[in-house]
Symmetry: C2
Subunit: 548 residues, 2 copies
């Protein structure tokens, strides 16, 4: 299921328009600050005083004894609270002590590790090698690229003291690494033989955000940042698109997130890039999430840092560059794409635990059931399935069912004494919690058993993608004029229509509707050719939506 | 070859003595600053001005055309310069723009990735799960554990501005995470059922060091830090030793570094620990390198942060903890253990490239040779060998041989037109550069070929360990009194003898000889029972040596 994505043809009109000189990204960043829905929940995940904690603990224990699980807010009632409830109850993350920071708990981190393992393999298969650049960057480096510093200055964390002394120059805690990478590239690249230079880095970055939300926007987050240098503008553009396609393939075929790939408007592009490509995902509340971006940097940083190479014609030329990144935000995307009122729901390819076996029984019965469960576990593990037996004492089967549904485990196997006698078990799929989602009388050993489980995992993976795709398609409205756009946005949908507006007109739409231009999708539907806003001739359709 | 280490019995006298109240670690840290050999090379790896770079480039190209490689300083002449030359010429690392920071280049990072993959598997096999804690820690957290802050305060980097504003409380860029981990553990741990809590984190850390050296000591480095909480002191001690044994096993059986495992003196223990265990490695210049440590933290941090659990007897008790870490310093250890005057030498299990195939020939000949090389590459890769064909045009075979010897590739395969005709090839091992290290007439295809290569890789792995072990053993002197110790240290050796000295006497040895107490080794040789320094009765033998 996981293969390197084949490059699709990109029409010329969709490729990057270089050289536009705008304050890219800065406005989008400001707007985020105003989005009233992104407020941090009032201490819901933060440290509670000891007394309240003990009381809560006692209350939890009572609930647990009764086989109940902690309730989460229904999605329909308050999506934002639902999200925070799931993050807390599935033990994905906690707030750190510094405002806006996040502790990624083991279960949440295991999802990130799965994301890393797929992407890292993809990067290596496309010729990239990992490296590590220092996190502390002289402030003067950022100032070398005018738009870059304008975009990032408001979000910087600065180290001003080190080893007990005031520093002569403040050091920036990296918000991204283009500047320090170019400082090194300018030393490493000398001749055309050194190109292309294809580097990736797995690292932590800091951006001083005011409104935070676990995984989606945090003061510190984990990501990978690819940085490449090429001899020509064409090669840099090819690379930029190639890596976006790697992200698109991962999102769709591994994370089961039916993203829409496209080009950002100039306003929404990365600060310092000629052009930004994006994958946009629709969350369960129909807001857009920018799930990954790939930037064509042109020679902007090369000029700022003197990154030149001796070409075959013996001339010194600037390199052309790309950078691209995916972050722990992807975990938030997975939660908000697939989760439901029962809790988290994980696509099998990313699930730290794909199958949980719940043995049911008491006393001597339990022993034979447990023995069967262990055999199932061994068989599945040998076949490469990530499986766990939940043998926790003192919990009812019902409590365990709820618990693993909350954690989003894709497939549950139930086995009791009568099943063992009959040589069968019951398979239950997380995405269909009712009886229709159960398969009874499945052989509990041997090849047929393993094959049945593996097929079911594939089915669940495909079903999650199909469901999310249908949801997305039902919530994109094709609009022909501004009134239709406003109506679609008011209904919570994405609006898709021909766009030839100016930057100022894009700002106006945002101010009046809170929707931003998410992208000019690569896959363009047929359209009227008339800009929905200005009435000018339009060559492209754009998608607008409210976003995280 | 890579298996989880079996716990060896640890005698009672070697286990940790808890509760001693000294300024641990602080003195050792101060001493490091004074060690005159750890100076940064005068710009050898730093950025050169553009003009010098171009001139150097031209000169390099000339050298390369003549089949020469860049010379490195002989180890015997200046070990420190030899090390920096190897790091530069094998493209392992560069200095970053901020004093003391390091850029880990792809080839160096690939060694770190190999280290990570082994250790991460070991941690998971011993029940640990990865998580991620915020890097920025309120300064007040560090102050909660008195010895901890005393040990780390001189080395801290502080963030004082964020988002354009002065912060109310400075934030520490983590030098280690015990404090923030305990802040979270105190929320996560409630009952004995939550224990043991076994967490690991892969992260970057900062320590404001004055004297730096790539990999060995840098302002920022990469590491893993394990953090665990247990119900009893006994369990914490078991865990502390278990993880040291994991490190010992990795160092010996993967990195081919014959480390000596033992207990640190109180003076040299971690700031905030009851007791520190260590693996000590002997470098090529016979200096000791502390290659990994495991700390029994007792309940020191638990008391500072209120990390308590409700025990089965219904009493609230403090948890007992361990922490343990291995860093990118291990890469420096590998370089300085195995490298020689020809350059880097990598143990096959850690080598990013285990085998390089160098096709030899011209014109039409080269085509058939190259075809054979590609078949060999495919067969080896299918067998799990990390193999590369060096088909770079414009380089002589001699240049390539030197180049891959410099990079420390364990096995080279040479194949020319006559070899292809005869159906054979030549295997050359990096650890025996002369003709004796070559095997002629090896079948160039099929199972015998693959088996021959795999056997050779095992042989090289074992030979590197055997050689390093013999070197180490030849350079440890058993000493019975202080004069003998001084003599051994003056000869550059490690001195091993009975020790019952006080902290002050330990400091005196250091001041007079520059040697520090490396450890009380777990494997104790027979000894006189009389302290070599004070003449007091001694129950243990200690090892002294100069160190990095």
């Amino acid at each position: 299921m996981h293969e390197i994505f084949q490059m699709k043809g990109i029409s010329r009109s969709q490729s990057c328009r270089a050289g536009a000189g705008h304050s890219r990204g800065a406005v989008g960043r400001l707007a985020r600050l105003h989005s009233s829905l992104l407020t941090r929940a009032s201490g819901a995940l933060s440290a509670e005083p000891q007394a309240a904690k003990q009381a809560q603990k006692a209350s939890n224990r009572q609930q647990k004894k009764q086989g109940a699980t902690v309730a989460i807010t229904p999605r329909s009632e308050d999506f934002s609270r639902w999200y925070l409830d799931v993050v807390r109850e599935a033990q994905l993350a906690d707030y750190g002590p510094v405002r806006g920071t996040m502790v990624i708990r083991p279960y949440g981190y295991a999802i990130w590790e799965a994301i890393q393992s797929y992407l890292d393999a993809d990067f290596k298969a496309t010729g990239h090698r990992n490296a590590y650049f220092p996190q502390l960057i002289p402030l003067s480096f950022l100032e070398k690229e005018a738009e870059h510093v304008e975009g990032f200055a408001p979000e910087l964390a600065l180290v001003t003291r080190g080893g007990g002394k005031e520093l002569e120059e403040p050091l920036v805690v990296r918000p991204t690494s283009e500047t320090i990478v170019n400082h090194m590239f300018s030393q490493w690249v000398q001749s055309y033989r050194d190109l292309p230079l294809l580097i990736n880095q797995w690292a932590n970055v800091h951006r001083w955000e005011m409104r935070t939300r676990p995984f989606v926007r945090t003061l510190e987050f984990l990501w990978q940042e690819g940085h490449t240098a090429h001899a020509t503008a064409e090669e840099a553009e090819e690379e930029t698109l190639r890596m976006l396609r790697v992200y698109e393939n991962f999102a769709i075929n591994v994370a089961a997130m039916p993203v829409i790939a496209g080009r950002k408007s100039r306003r929404e592009s990365f600060a310092g890039a000629n052009c930004t490509y994006t994958i946009e995902a629709m969350m369960g509340d129909r807001r857009a999430l920018q799930a990954g971006t790939s930037h064509n940097l042109g020679d902007n940083f090369a000029r700022a840092f003197g990154t030149r190479y001796l070409a075959e014609d013996n001339e010194l030329k600037f390199v052309h560059q790309s950078s691209w990144g995916v972050s722990t935000r992807m975990v938030g995307g997975v939660i908000m794409t697939h989760g439901d009122d029962t809790g988290l729901q994980l696509p099998p390819l990313l699930a730290p635990v794909q199958v949980v076996v719940v043995p049911i029984g008491k006393g001597a019965d339990l022993e034979s059931v447990l023995a069967a469960a262990r055999r199932m576990e061994a068989e599945l593990r040998a076949a490469g399935v990530r499986v766990e037996v939940d043998n926790t004492p003192g919990r009812t089967p019902g409590w365990k069912f709820n618990h693993h549904e909350m954690r989003g485990v894709p497939v549950r196997i139930e086995v009791g004494p009568r099943d063992v006698e009959a040589g069968t078990c019951v398979l239950a799929r997380r995405d269909q919690p009712s009886k229709e989602g159960k398969k009874f009388g499945v052989a509990l050993e041997g090849e047929p058993f393993v094959a049945e489980v593996q097929n079911l995992l594939h089915e669940v993976q495909a079903a999650l993608l199909a469901k999310a795709t249908a949801f997305r398609d039902a919530n994109i409205a094709d609009v022909g004029d501004y009134d239709e756009l406003k109506e679609a946005i008011a209904q919570g949908k994405w609006a898709r229509g021909p766009w030839a507006g100016t930057d100022e007109e894009e700002v106006q739409v945002k101010e009046e509707t809170q929707a931003t231009l998410r992208c000019f999708p690569f896959e363009q539907p047929p359209h009227s050719g008339v800009c929905l806003f200005s009435g000018r001739p339009a060559t492209e359709v754009a998608i607008f939506g409210k976003s995280y």
